[in-house]
Amino acid sequence: MSKFVEDRQIVVPGEVLAEGDFRLGENVYRNGNRILSTMVGLTRIDGERLSVIALHGFYMPQNDDIVIGIVNDVGLTHWVLDINAPYPGILRANETPGRPFDPTRHELLDELKIGDMVIAKVLSFDRTQDPALTLKESGLGKIKDGVVVSLTPSKIPRLIGKKGSMLNIIQQKTGCQIIVGQNGRILARCGDKTKEDLAIKIIKVIEMEAHMSGLTNRISRLVETERTKEVG
């Protein structure tokens, strides 16, 4: 068993990470005895487990993910949502809170129109069928205020940080409420234009610098300098 890369090293598709009996994490594959990367990303070595954290990727829905979707189409009994994934999200009328849906009496357009944004949860997805979404939980539903920012979905874990550390810093220091969709869309509710701009700026910095170490400290410093500017 031998490793050819160090932890947190940039690799490209097809680059050999190791040879031998390692466990496979995400974005790697085995070819004979060798373990290769499938993505441009940073290596991650946890003991015997090798994985690659993608630097740029697309969102693949997973059960119980919170996503931010945009209504694309309204059917008789369901909405079709763009959830920034290879598959459209299907939100059935019965998955909205409130009274049971009756197509003879209720009109879907009264609730959500094309272009509306919602915070939804993935009920079930297995690649053979389009992901089914639900709004039947607290915190889910139509977005009425705030601003939605996009980010490469593979960088969402960096935005959240270890046990939510990064997200806490941003929320505390900007005073915004931030809701992260796993599909790379982030809702910031600030109620104030300056705070909103700062939140967007921070999210963009995270996107640019997600692959570098010491990110949390840099973000803290960024917030401090922005604040001094405001006061001055």
Binding site: P13, G14, N27, T38, M39, V40, L55, H56, P86
Partner: protein, 243 residues
């Protein structure tokens, strides 16, 4: 009477040695609206590649239940050649789109996202021989840039016979006036040739040596591809250290 393509010192019309590639420039992530993109220059060839997807397959009947499908369009801009080219897809472009798609298919892990579609667009901005290989190299970079899971990278390069000598990476003049041309695409990780064509006449011996120098060219391009992909992210790193 055709002009001489290789002089007595073994130097070609553009000043290269027999086994020398044209100067190469690669850059990834240059188109904002594409999921992945690459710009590739090889001598006078200038190529733009863009990748969109994976996305929902349209028209729906094309979707496959067990894997993603790849659509590829190789297209030469009307201004890419000296005589204006009709922008409608020609017989040659349709064929090249097909062989490029087939050369990329073993690379992409299509089985990971069934029922979807990946679109690859290769636009030849300036053509000067060897555009199918250059287009393929650029498309492979754009796919990697799009964050689509790949088994490796494909690099492609032509070799051929010009004035009775085996040369690497033919330009337009050598391609047209030379004796033969062998475009080769190679995937180093899988040890697989994903494209191998030949146009012209060659002996079996010539063919073997052409293949071997084409392979050397592919390996050189492969190193440059890795560098170009890493450069996009390393640059931000360097900027940060300078601050």
């Amino acid at each position: 009477m055709l002009s001489k393509l290789i002089d007595e010192n073994g130097i070609r019309t553009d000043g290269r040695k027999l086994d020398e590639l044209r100067p190469v420039k690669m850059e990834v992530g240059i188109l904002k609206n594409a999921n992945g993109s690459a710009y590739f220059e090889q001598g006078k060839c200038k190529i733009l590649a863009a990748v969109y997807g994976p996305h929902e397959a349209h028209p729906r009947h094309l979707a496959l239940p067990d894997r993603a499908i790849i659509r590829c369009r190789y297209h030469m801009a009307p201004f890419s050649v000296t005589e204006r080219k009709n922008p409608a897809p020609s017989r040659r472009e349709i064929e090249l789109s097909k062989v490029i798609r087939e050369a990329l298919e073993p690379l992409v892990m299509c089985e990971l996202f069934p029922r979807t579609m990946i679109d690859i667009f290769i636009e030849i901005l300036t053509a000067d021989g060897g555009t199918r290989c250059a287009g393929l190299t650029a498309a492979s970079l754009a796919l990697a840039d799009a964050g689509i899971p790949l088994r490796g990278l494909v690099s492609a390069c032509a070799a051929g016979k010009v004035d009775g000598k085996i040369v690497l990476d033919l330009n337009d003049k050598e391609d047209k006036e030379g004796d033969a041309d062998v475009p080769v695409a190679f995937i180093p990780q899988m040890n697989v040739f994903s494209l191998l064509q030949m146009d012209g006449l060659m002996t079996a011996e010539d063919y073997k040596s052409a293949l071997s120098i084409a392979l050397q060219g592919c390996r050189k391009l492969y190193e440059m591809q890795i560098e170009a992909l890493k450069k996009k992210y390393l640059e931000t790193k360097v900027e940060e250290n300078n601050q």
